[in-house]
Structures are given as C-alpha cells and as structure tokens.
C-alpha cells in the first residue's frame, strides 16, 4: 500500500464530487427528503388523538365537566352534538362513526350517588355507532377504559388487580426515532453500492481505468481509496441526517463509536458488492439495474422503514439473511436500546459478511481487457 497514491485518488474523487454540485446536493438531499416526508407522517400520527362526538342531553355543570374531562385527560378531540338532533340521524348525515350520548338526569344521579351514597343510582352512557367502521372497536375500548376508571374512582375501594406498564426503554421513544437508524442504514447502503458501481463503470467507459493500468497504481490502493471516499460520503451524509432530524423533529439518539463502526462495516460490505457487480456487469446501465435489483428488496424487507415483525413469518426468516437487516438491528441496538451485547452480535455478523464480500470484490476486480 502506498499512502501517497491512496491519498491522491481520494483527493481527486472528493474534489470531483465537491465540484459536481448537483450530484452532491442529491446525494445529501435524498435521505433528508425521506426523513422529512416520513417524519411528517409519523409525527401527525403520534399527535393525533381520536375524534369523538358527544351529545350531552343533560346540559348541567356535571355533564359539561365530564365532557371536558374526556377532552383533557382522555386525549379525545371532542365535537359537541346539538341535544336537539337525533344521534342516529347525526351519524348518518355527518358520516361520523360514533356518538357518545350522556342521558338526561346525569347530574341528578351523580349527586345522589355522591352525597346520599345511593348505590342503586346509576346512569347509562350510550354509544351510538356505525358497526361498519373499523376504528369503532378501538374507540369503544378506550372509552370503556375511561369509564371503568371513573367507576373505580366513585366506589373509592382500591382495586385488587392493578396493572403497570414498564417499557423496556429507559426513555419513551417515538416512531420517528426507530425510523432514523433505518434511514441511515439504507442511505449508506445506496450511497456505497451505487457510488461504487457508477464511479467504476463511468471510469471504465471513459477509458480512465485503461489509463490507470499503465501506471503503477495497485488494485489494493485503488480499492482502498474507494473505501475511504465512500466512507467520507457516508459519514457526511449520516451527520446531515442526524442534524436534520434533531433540528426538525428533536430526535435525540444515543451516539457512540458503534454508529461509526456500523457505517464503516456497511461501506465495506456494499463497496465489495459494488465491485463484484462492476466486474460481471459491463454496461453502466445494466450495472445500475443490477444494483437496484439488490438494494430495492433489501430496503423494504430488512426493516429499514417498518419493523419486520409486521411481515409474514417466511419473509421474516428471509429478512434475517439480508446484510442490511443486521445493520438496522445493530444501529437500533446501539442508538436506541444502548444494548452493547446486541450491537456486538450484529456487528460480528455484518463484519464477517463485509470481509467475505470485500475480499471477493478485490479478487473480482480486473482492469486488463481481453484476458
């Protein structure tokens, strides 16, 4: 290895991409756009409370307070339905799926129960609903929970069975925070794979590789400079993604050496695959198509965009054969769960894969024609 030669190559490649402003822009912009688009979708989902229509037939202070209670603590977006209309009619006309009806005499019953301890005093809250709507059961379940809570409070006997939810995370994470490591893994894969394939086929078609054959540069030096170049691009892109997700969505992930380790291992793996592709697919267009054929399924099946638990069993098994899956898992282990054990396990798998593919890539690299 000759550091001067490696450095000269790295310099020329970086200078080229730096001066190629549009390429540079799209290199950095693509993952950012993904983050912004998906981020906006996830954030609105996270914040969206259920919409609820309430018809208060009682119109007393107690009933009005109870509706407010639902709004504030139950996180429902309340629409108040005019007591004069029929709830069934209202559902049909306004195309809503559920109206909660507070009956007349609500306050009276409540006061009797509260102050005269009349345990026979009760009210019936009616759900008027459209059974064809899929979100109704969920809404009713939540409402039942709220109502049970209120009942509980009124009896003032402590419950026997209590439940406590303990998240395995030290902090509550939002979906966007699961998403970012996946996007990082996906972007580094695409950058390295397409970067290697495009650069090498372009240089071959322009005859620059042929010219390089007549210089003392070795394959090792050339490939090493490729790795360094792709690593630089990957790191710059990752930093940009982290900054944008922090600035826009306040995403704070755990950052340590694992992140760098996974990025570098991933670069090795996909530069290796890129080199193998460039060897066997000579035309630039078909090389890009082959790179697409490899990266596209990997993107969707290895859990970059959504958890693989959502997929059928056999696809989950398949996902576990994909290198990108281990980068996704590893990055999440390191950046979200802070689980060094799991990160090490994933790093080992992707590391072995990277080593094998990279060595194959080096062996596959041929510059001379007409062998």
């Amino acid at each position: 290895m000759n550091p001067r030669v490696v450095g000269a190559n790295l310099f020329v490649k970086l200078l080229g991409v730096y001066r190629e402003k549009t390429t540079m822009f799209f290199t950095l912009a693509f993952p950012i756009i993904l983050i912004l688009v998906f981020g906006t979708i996830f954030m609105s989902q996270d914040n969206a409370g259920f919409h609820l229509c309430v018809q208060d037939l009682d119109q007393t202070k107690s009933s009005i307070d109870s509706v407010k209670e639902l709004e504030v603590n139950g996180k429902f977006k309340i629409t108040r339905v005019d007591p004069a209309v029929s709830a069934i009619q209202y559902i049909k006309v306004n195309k809503v799926n559920l109206v909660l009806v507070i009956p007349k005499g609500f306050e009276k019953s409540l006061l009797r129960r509260k102050f005269f301890s009349d345990y026979k005093s009760s009210v019936t809250i009616t759900y008027v609903y459209d059974p064809s709507s899929s979100s109704v059961p969920t809404k009713m379940e939540i409402l039942n929970g709220v109502l049970a809570g209120i009942n509980q409070e009124m009896t003032s006997i402590p419950p026997f069975l209590k439940s406590a939810a303990t998240s395995i995370l030290t902090r509550k994470y939002r979906f966007i925070e699961y998403f970012i490591p996946g996007i990082i893994a996906m972007s580094v894969m695409t950058l390295s794979l397409f970067g290697t394939v495009n650069l090498n086929t372009e240089l071959r078609q322009k005859g620059i590789i042929r010219k390089l054959c007549t210089t003392p540069i070795t394959h090792t030096d050339w490939i090493l400079s490729d790795i360094l170049y792709q690593s630089t691009i990957a790191v710059v892109s990752t930093i940009t993604m982290l900054l944008v997700s922090y600035a826009v969505y306040d995403v704070k992930l755990h950052l340590d050496a694992w992140l760098l380790a996974f990025i570098l291992l991933e670069v090795f793996a996909f530069v290796g695959i890129g080199m193998i592709l460039t060897r066997f697919v000579k035309e630039a267009q078909s090389a890009a198509a082959a790179a697409n054929a490899i990266s596209f399924p990997m993107m969707f099946l290895s859990g970059s965009f959504f958890p693989i638990e959502l997929m059928p069993e056999f696809l989950q098994k398949f996902a576990k054969t994909l290198p990108l899956y281990y980068v996704n898992e590893g990055l999440r282990a390191a950046m979200i769960f802070e689980d060094n054990q799991a990160a090490l396990h994933d790093a080992a798998i992707i590391g072995v894969f990277a080593a094998v593919v990279f060595i194959l890539g080096v062996i596959a690299t041929r510059w001379e024609e007409g062998q």
Partner: protein
Amino acid sequence: MTEKTGYTIEVENLTKRYGDLVAVDDISFTVSTGEVFALLGPNGAGKTTTVEIINTIRTPTSGTVTLLGMDVTKKKLDIVRRIGVLPQGFNSFDRITVRETLQYYSRLFSCRNTDIAGLIELVNLEDKANEQYKNLSGGLRQRLGIAIALVNDPEVVFLDEPTTGLDPRARREVWEVLQGLKQKGKTVFLTTHYMEEAELLADTVAIISKGKIIAMDSPAKLIENTTNYLVLTLLSADDNVIEIIRTMGFEPVLDNDKDIKTRVEHIDDVQKILSALKEAGAFYLGLDVRKPNLEEVFLKLTGAAFHNGHVVEREAV
C-alpha cells in the same frame, strides 16, 4: 537489455485472438532506441491490440514481446514505471483541472520532482492550466494526455492515434509537440491511420493490415521500394480530360471530385499528356508532378481505397 541489442521493443511472432477473430496475426518487428516508430493501418487493423500488448494492458495469445529488455507479461510493474502511454480515446476526470490532473498522475508514479509547469509549457497549455478537463476542446485534451504520458519522464512513449478526430490545425499543434519529444531523445511508438502523420513524424513506418505487417521501412524507402512511377495531378480539370488520358492508355482517377490523378512511368509521359490536352483544347487550373506518397504505397500494398487522406479498407478487392 536495451543497451545490448539497441532495440527498445522486440516483438516476436506475436498473435492475439479474440475468440475466432485473429486480431494480430503472427507479427514480428523491432523498434530502435530513440526512434519514432509509426504503426500505420486502417480501422480494425490491430494497432490498438498490438500497442496495448506491448504496454502490458493486454495479454498476448502467443509470441513474445520484450520492452526495455523485460518480458511484458512478467514485469508489468517495472515496465509501467519507465513508459508513458496515451491510450486511444483518452479521457480524464471531468472536474479536475489541467494542473491538478498532472499532479494526480505524478503522485501515482510517486514522482516527487515532476516539473508540472515544464510539462504544461511543453504542450502549450499555459493558458488552460486551471481549466477543468470537461471545458477543454479535443485538441487540448490530447495535448494534456501527452503531458500526462510524460509525468514519469518515461524512456518510451506510446501514443495510440493521438490526432484522430482533431481538426487540421489542432493536429498540427499535436505534431509539434511530438516533434519536441523526438528532440528530447524519447523512443516514440505511434499508431495512426493518417499517412501524412506517419510520413512527417516517423523514422520507421510499419504498415499493418488485417493483423499482419505488410511492409516496414523508413517512409522514403517504402516509397522508393514499392513504387516506380510518378503521380501527375491536374487541378480542376475539364470533364473530358479523363477520357482523353484514358484513350492514351493511362488509368486516370477522379480525386476530390475535381482533380484528376494519373500514374505515369516517366517524365516523358507527362509531356505527352500535356500536348494531347493542349491539342484538344481541354482546360485545367494547374498541375503537379511528384513521387508517390505513403498513401499510394498503402494503396498499392493493400488494394485499399483512400479517402480524404486516411485509408479505408475496401469491402472486397
């Protein structure tokens, strides 16, 4: 070694096959130290194949090639340090400037004392030193390519069709650079399909056709040995001139749509033709009598047609 034999390049029974196609067919030749050697031939003759086998990019099917005393198939790394190559259809990194490109290649050779400014001056690119490659015209790109081929101060320079696709002026500028190389004492191996180029620059010309070398000598000797006639050219001659000359037993041909060319054995024949034309009152703008050039040598040897100064292989002769 070079010093022992006096030959920088020795090619013996070189053959290269691509599947069934024999691109180079059992050729042998030598190139002496310090000479300009031109491999002249039409498209597909096997020039690039030959030159790239010599400069270690391709491997021969059979035969041996010795360059600077070393077997090209065994000493690649030692050889490339001592040669400079301008490949056919040379290209460089689009966004990198002339100076940066030369620095880059100089680093690849681990040369610490390359005279970048001197090279830029040698190829007359002083004005364009900070221009990016993509903004250079074809002629400037070729000149940069030649400068790149010189970053390691090579003993042998290989130039594969250095002027193809250039306009006459740009071609002339490249020729000037090449004549400069010769004065510097470099051994130059040139391929071309321009007769004029080979005739002007080369000490030795090897004519290659369909993978075989069909003649090799200095341009003057080639002309002397293969031809024993003169060429009479009548400029912008009347249409009937061709008929008149033909009836006298010569074989006139139309060149450039207006000139008429005729081979004559002796200067007396010129006299006879001119008197005949005078008698017939035929008009012509001017005339030219000269010894044949390489073009005609090539035609005679290969039976190929020529067109605007470079040769095209005739379909079936």
